[in-house]
């Protein structure tokens, strides 16, 4: 077990390191420096600026410098606003985390409930309805859902106020973000629940006269939830990338919208910082998922 965990942590560190390599060198492959503006700047000024930001050093040295700064918690300065990137990322991340956390919670809770209902009423009306809607849910990209929700509920029907940072209304963005993972979790729970209900221990429990509720919740559901754990890592990744468009559509000032604006502004240090930050989050989420999965179910063979 310890060996497995060490291996996974090493792999995670290697992944993060590769991501920093990819981001740094692709960003530097772009022609034109950050100080090439429409207005002509004198060569002397550019030279001073480059010397100030260490851009005159060889690329390898720049990378080492960037990494040392990063490890010291210095993520650089935005070219667009001139502000410290980390303060910006951290305050925006809190907004995104609130939204993403709610979406994840909704997806997991509703997904498990719907999945269990579908498994228990197999081939009856509730199951059919759930299967129908989850299939529909997995076929709809989050941006389509988000724009349609905004159009119908905010603009046409005026049922829900448009997002404002002073009075945030989470309902629509959370729905837009959580439908896909919810549908996925529902399908996952349904299959594993059906599998668990056919196990010998469930039959034994029934034969012993354990109440139906107890069999479902204690014997079947607890075992059925193990495969759901594996989806938590991918779900975090989905919600993080999905939040980029959803935040953009609902004009929520979260990390996703920072990323999209920085892409549009070609603000390279910010793009790099956000990429690395999100990548670290995803890698950690995957790492924890794998470890928890092994801890919860010792039957799973290592590797």
């Amino acid at each position: 077990m310890t060996k497995y965990i060490t291996k996974r942590i090493l792999l995670a560190i290697v992944s993060i390191w590769i991501i920093t390599l990819i981001t740094f060198f692709t960003m530097n492959a772009i022609p034109g420096g950050p100080f090439n503006k429409e207005k002509a700047t004198s060569a002397a000024v550019i030279a001073t600026l480059e010397a100030r930001y260490n851009l005159d050093k060889p690329l390898g040295e720049q990378y080492v410098l960037y990494m040392t700064n990063l490890l010291h918690g210095d993520w650089g300065i935005s070219l667009h606003s001139g502000r410290d990137i980390w303060t910006d990322i951290w305050s925006r991340f809190q907004v995104s985390a609130k939204l993403g956390g709610r979406a994840a919670a909704v997806a997991i809770v509703i997904g498990i409930v719907l999945g269990s209902i579908a498994a228990l009423t197999r081939n009856k009306l509730p199951d059919r309805l759930i299967v129908f809607f989850t299939t529909l849910g997995t076929a709809m990209p989050s941006f389509v859902l988000a724009t349609l929700l905004l159009l119908v509920f905010c603009l046409k029907l005026s049922l829900i106020p448009v997002w404002s940072s002073s009075d945030p209304n989470y309902i629509l963005p959370v729905i837009a973000l959580s439908v896909y993972p919810m549908a996925y979790i529902t399908r996952l729970t349904k299959t594993s629940m059906l599998d668990a209900l056919n196990q010998d221990y469930v039959r034994t429990a029934r034969a012993k006269g354990v109440s139906k509720v107890k069999v479902i919740f204690v014997h079947a559901l607890r075992n059925a939830l193990i495969p759901v754990i594996t989806y938590v890592g991918p779900m975090v990744a989905y919600i993080l990338t999905g939040s980029m468009v959803v935040e953009n559509i609902f004009t929520i000032g979260g990390l996703g919208s920072v990323f999209v604006t920085s892409i549009n502004n070609r603000d390279y240090p910010v793009i790099m910082a956000v990429t690395i930050f999100l990548a670290i989050l995803m890698v950690i989420a995957n790492l924890l998922t794998d470890i928890v999965y092994k801890l919860v179910d010792p039957r799973i063979k290592l590797d």
């Binding site: 022609p31 709809m140 549009n264 990548a279």
Partner: protein
């Protein structure tokens, strides 16, 4: 029949034919002969799977929907007299009033032209966009781009995945270990972020490179997306193929082929890969919608196809600015995306049920 030398044994069950004449025998009629036929036709793996697939109404409906969509996007441009990148012209003059028409509406100039000449102009089925281009034909071309991206990406993923996975799985040992470590690392990279990152970079870098070639029309974004698909998305497929091959290569027929000196290449091609076919078909069918998803997502972020070409995602994105006044411009591409992805998902599920008896 010569029964003369038959040993007379009173327990013998052999019939003494000398007691019968030809009148005692009757030839079997055609009907009776047919009863002897084996009823079940011998089937191949593929036929068997297709038979099961044909019984799945959802999968068949999906095939019909997909064929219909493909037919429309192939045929429609021949009928519709408008082009996806040209503002509508009436009588050789650019019609500035043709912007933002509703469904089936004509602009004032078009109406006047029709009244004057009595000629019937082709209707704008979905209206026009903000620049006065026929929206129906833009949706058609958008669907073409989205579907093409999905199929090309899936084919790339399949080819790279099969080659990589079969080499790793077949040779095993240290080769497998190193190849699979590489897969593990690529697998743990957040693909969407890297796609976005590379699209940003390639947009600057490749744009100049492709100037004046056919590729320029497609746009550096599309090229970079294909590159990223080629770099990152094959790992899932490679893992699946490797797993399949690991189980198949221990079968006796592979051992037998090895014993008679068959080359590795031939064993892989004739004995192992055909047995992985079901996994390959299913994964490919499910890979297409995921590529379409990714493309529409990138187009929505403004990192997709270059103007004036459209994809379903970029159409939806363009429609956002005016979605309150012209909701149909948002709803139509959205519905088409959902329809395609839904049909492909259902078809993929159907294929899985039909071809993979292990998964129930």
């Amino acid at each position: 029949m010569d029964n003369a030398n038959l040993k007379k044994n009173f327990l013998s069950a052999q019939i003494d034919l000398s007691k019968f004449s030809s009148a005692n025998f009757e030839k079997a009629t055609e009907d009776e002969k047919r009863q002897q036929d084996v009823m079940g036709e011998s089937t191949t793996f593929f036929k068997d799977g297709m038979r099961r697939l044909r019984k799945n109404p959802l999968a068949m409906a999906s095939i019909v929907v997909l064929l219909l969509i493909v037919l429309i996007i192939l045929v429609a441009p021949a009928f519709v007299p408008y082009s996806y990148d040209q503002i509508i012209t009436v009588d050789g003059v650019r019609d500035k009033g043709s912007a933002n028409l509703g469904m089936m509406e004509y602009s004032a100039r078009e109406q006047a032209y029709m009244d004057k000449t009595g000629e019937k102009l082709f209707p704008h089925l979905f209206g026009t966009d903000g620049l006065g281009r026929d929206y129906f034909i833009r949706v058609i071309y958008g669907t073409r781009v989205s579907l093409a991206v999905g199929v090309v990406a899936a084919v790339m993923v399949v080819i790279i995945g099969i080659i990589y996975g079969s080499i790793a799985g077949y040779f095993g040992g240290r080769v497998d270990l190193i190849m699979m470590r590489i897969v593990d690392i690529i697998y743990s990279l957040p693909d969407m972020l890297i796609i976005i990152l590379l699209s940003v970079v390639f947009k600057e870098r490749l744009g100049a490179l492709f100037e004046g070639t056919v590729l320029a029309k497609l746009g550096s974004n599309m090229i970079s997306m294909f590159i990223v698909f080629g770099l990152l998305y094959w790992v899932g497929m490679a893992r699946l193929i490797r797993g399949q091959i690991l189980t198949i290569k221990n079968n006796e027929y592979v051992l037998a082929a090895k014993c008679i000196g068959t080359s590795n290449r031939r064993i892989l091609k004739t004995h192992i890969l055909p047995n992985c076919l079901s996994v390959i078909i299913i994964t490919t069918a499910l890979q297409i919608p995921s590529a379409i998803f990714t493309e529409s997502y990138l187009s929505f972020l403004g990192l997709g196809v270059s103007v004036p070409l459209s994809s379903l995602g970029s159409l939806a994105n363009d429609a956002r600015a005016a979605m309150q006044s012209y909701p149909q411009r948002l709803v139509i591409p959205a519905v088409v995306i959902c329809l395609i992805v839904l049909a492909l998902n259902l078809l993929g599920d159907g294929l899985r049920d039909a071809f993979d008896s292990k998964l129930d």
